[in-house]
Subunit: 257 residues, 2 copies
């Protein structure tokens, strides 16, 4: 296995950081790699906010479903899907009017543009993660940045055609964090389909969720729920943070209609 | 610069493939790396369709805005944001009813879940891209998979709680493709913001789009349009494929309301 594959296979999310600082040179190396990520039509439909102000990190540690380690992360990057940069440029260029004069549509950014921009932002984010990993710097994605849109919009002065799609915390891992057990994954057969999507039949479902069920049965929660599906639905899917995430994203999407 | 950073900095999209086959071992190495990508709550909210049937590749080469090289790609992966696997499991487990009995919401997948699933799918896709690159295998993202939803839904039997978020073509590059000039990027200062989003003022806009304007002025299109913004708006943003992409994504989102 080559070095790159090794680091992909050895990566774990790091939430406990050593005191070793992430230097400006480290940060620039991570960003330079992120910029080389492929981007649709080379339009770079994303922005990155470097969150260096401690008071902003402190607020994120609360707004992102109460995860105090965010406040302690040496380096924090907020990835935005961003059509605003292009939209401002189009306006400056008189582009919508020029299109209309040619009989083309004069339109504003919509959900399709947003999806392309989310692709760009996330492809760049994962490139940053792998670049950091190659430098010995750990990372953790914070999906909860999709919650509390109004709060994050105010904190970061987000204009309407941006969407905070993911947050990344970076730092050198503590010795314990570096050795933490790798999380398991579903069997590959449950993730990969041949030519057409094949819903899981009963046997395939047992194969996919079997380990999860076995683990669940050894926990205290097995008294409360009949199976792991009920537990995860109640503890995650129907939980407050998940309801908030869906409300918040619904609000974000209103800008793109 | 370490090996991983080198390959990130040397990557270009590859659309011309050498006759060297992508072996089953190569494919499995790419997939195994993709599975190790970080995933929200370890839920793996994505699926991958291996497109091996030539007739499906031929149809994609048409449906994805007429890009014949897709039909010639030795290995094609369709990445789906996927809540269907979990939803089917929740139903089998009687989870929504169990939640209701506890006074919790009984809800179906929504746009927030979809955004998290898109994150998972794209983080996995870019991990696959970098893994492939480390094996000498080139790749190209096809954002146009977001178009023609109804066609792709039928071609791949996509159930409602999946969304085809990106398509990847893989193959060993031809000698020419491997040496193709690296595409330029916007200056880092135009992409990275410090602590708060800062819209580009006139000077920052010139800095960001200056190279693009200079290149535009040397093309035949400079006769037709006043500036690069007008050209890109008319040729991309207001073009048929872009209108179709936004229509198609609007249709996809109807499943998640």
């Amino acid at each position: 296995m080559n070095e790159t594959l090794k680091l992909i296979h050895n990566r774990r999310s790091v939430r406990a950081y050593s005191p070793k600082p992430v230097t400006r040179a480290d940060k620039d190396a991570i960003l330079a790699a992120a910029f080389r990520a492929p981007t649709a039509g080379n339009l770079m439909l994303y922005s990155i906010i470097e969150v260096e102000d401690q008071s902003l990190k402190d607020r994120l540690a609360v707004s992102c479903d109460h995860q105090p380690f965010i406040a302690r992360a040496p380096y924090v990057l907020l990835f935005l899907a961003d059509l605003q940069r292009w939209w401002d440029y189009f306006i400056k260029c008189g582009a919508p009017g020029r299109a209309e004069a040619s009989g083309l549509p004069n339109r504003r950014p919509q959900t399709g543009d947003l999806m392309l921009a989310c692709c760009d932002a996330l492809i760049s984010a994962q490139t940053a993660v792998i670049a950091a990993e190659s430098l010995g710097i750990g990372s953790c994605y914070i999906g909860d940045i999709l919650e509390q849109y109004e709060t994050h919009r105010e904190m970061f002065d987000l204009p309407p055609y941006t969407l905070p799609v993911t947050l990344l915390c970076f730092g050198y891992p503590t010795a314990a964090a570096a050795k933490r057990k790798l999380t398991s994954r579903f069997p590959g057969e449950s993730i990969v389909h041949k030519d057409r999507y094949r819903p899981l039949d009963a046997a395939a479902m047992d194969h996919c969720f079997g380990d999860l069920e076995n683990t669940f049965r050894s926990t205290a929660r097995a008294v409360q729920y009949e199976n792991a599906g009920q537990e995860i639905y109640c503890r995650k899917f129907a939980a407050g943070f998940s309801m908030e995430l869906n409300r918040s994203v619904g609000k974000m999407l209103e800008n793109w209609k």
